[in-house]
C-alpha cells in the first residue's frame, strides 16, 4: 500500500483504538496487527505525530515496578476520526463506481 496513504489510515486506526479505551504501545500494536501490517517501529512515529497534533495525551502508570506510558484520545482526536470518516465516504463512492465499471468491463 502507498506509504503516505498507509500512514493516514494507521493514524485513524490508532485513534479509533484509543477511542474505545486508553491503551499503551505494545497493546495497540497487538490490537491492530490483525487488521493492518503494523510494527512497534511504525507505531512510534504515529503516536508522536498524534501527540504533536494534540489528538492524544500521554500519562504514565506504574506497572510491575516500571512506568508504562498510556495514550488517551482527546476531543481533537475524536473529531479527526469523524473527519476521516467524512473524507472516506467519497473514496468509497469512487471505489464502488470503479468496481462497477470493472465488473461491466469483464462482461
Amino acid at each position: 500500500m502507498d506509504a503516505q496513504l498507509k500512514r493516514g489510515l494507521l493514524e485513524a486506526c490508532v485513534l479509533s483504538v484509543l477511542s474505545q479505551s486508553d491503551s499503551y504501545g505494545y497493546k495497540i500494536v497487538k490490537d491492530l496487527s490483525g487488521l493492518v501490517e503494523i510494527s512497534e517501529s511504525t507505531l512510534y512515529p504515529i503516536l508522536k505525530r498524534l501527540e504533536v497534533s494534540e489528538c492524544l495525551t500521554v500519562y504514565a502508570v506504574e506497572h510491575n515496578g516500571r512506568l508504562r506510558k498510556f495514550y488517551s484520545i482527546t476531543e481533537k482526536g475524536r473529531s479527526a476520526i469523524s473527519d476521516f470518516l467524512e473524507n472516506w465516504k467519497d473514496v468509497i463512492t469512487v471505489y464502488d463506481f470503479i468496481r462497477e465499471g470493472w465488473q461491466n468491463d469483464k462482461m
Binding site: Y24, G25, Y26, K27, Y44, R49, K69
Partner: protein, 203 residues
C-alpha cells in the same frame, strides 16, 4: 543481543538529537521490550524482533521536523557554557570591522551575479520588444506615406510586417533562454545554501 545492548545501540545512533528526544525514544522501546518479555519472550527474542537500531534511529530522525534536524546537525548538542557564550559575543563585537566588510562584499558579489543574470534576461526581451515596436511603427508610418508615395508606403508596410514577424519569431527562443537563465539562478542559490547545511546520508 541483550535489552541493554539494543538500547545502547539505539542511544548511540540517536546521539545527535536533543537529550529529551533520545530519552523518549529509548523509553518507548524499553517499554516494548519489557512488555514482550512479560508476554513470555526471552530477552534475546524481545530485543531482536526489530530492525537494527541504526535503521530505527534513521526513521525517528527522518520523522522529526527539518528545523530540529538542521539545528542538531549544525550546532553541537552540548550547549556552550555561559562563559563561552560571552567570549563568542565579545569576539563577534570586537571582530566586527574585520568580518563585516567581508560578509558585505560576499553579499554584494552574490547580488551582482543575480543582477547580471536578470539583466541579460531583460536585454533579451527588450530587444525582441523593440524589433516588434519598430515593425509596428513602420506599418503606422506607411499609413502616412500612402497619400504621398504609394511605393514607399508599400515598402514600409512590408518592412514593418517583416520586423513584427521577426519579433514574434525571436520571442520563443528568448523565452527559452530566459527560462534557462532563471534555472541557473536557482542552481546558484542552492549551491550557496549547501555550503551551510552539511547534509549527510539522512535521506
Amino acid at each position: 543481543m541483550t535489552k541493554c545492548e539494543f538500547l545502547e545501540a539505539l542511544r548511540n545512533a540517536l546521539s545527535q538529537l536533543p537529550q529529551s528526544e533520545i530519552e523518549k525514544s529509548v523509553a518507548y522501546y524499553e517499554e516494548i521490550i519489557d512488555d514482550r518479555i512479560e508476554e513470555g519472550m526471552t530477552e534475546e527474542e524481545a530485543a531482536a524482533g526489530f530492525e537494527d537500531a541504526g535503521a530505527i534511529a534513521k526513521q525517528i530522525m527522518l520523522d522529526l521536523p527539518l528545523g530540529v534536524l538542521v539545528k542538531s546537525k549544525v550546532r553541537p548538542q552540548k550547549s556552550p557554557s555561559d562563559g563561552v557564550k560571552w567570549l563568542i559575543t565579545a569576539l563577534l563585537i570586537l571582530g566586527f570591522p574585520v568580518w563585516f566588510p567581508i560578509v558585505l562584499a560576499i553579499a554584494v558579489v552574490i547580488l551582482s551575479v543575480y543582477i547580471v543574470i536578470w539583466s541579460v534576461i531583460a536585454v533579451l526581451f527588450v530587444t525582441v520588444l523593440s524589433i516588434g515596436i519598430s515593425g509596428i511603427a513602420c506599418v503606422i508610418a506607411s499609413l502616412f506615406a500612402f497619400p504621398l508615395n504609394i511605393l514607399t508606403a508599400f515598402a514600409a508596410v512590408g518592412g514593418g510586417l517583416v520586423l513584427v514577424g521577426l519579433a514574434i519569431f525571436a520571442f520563443f527562443p528568448a523565452k527559452h533562454a530566459a527560462k534557462g537563465l532563471i534555472w541557473l539562478t536557482g542552481r546558484f542559490a542552492r549551491g550557496i545554501k549547501s555550503l551551510f547545511i552539511r547534509r549527510e546520508s539522512v535521506i
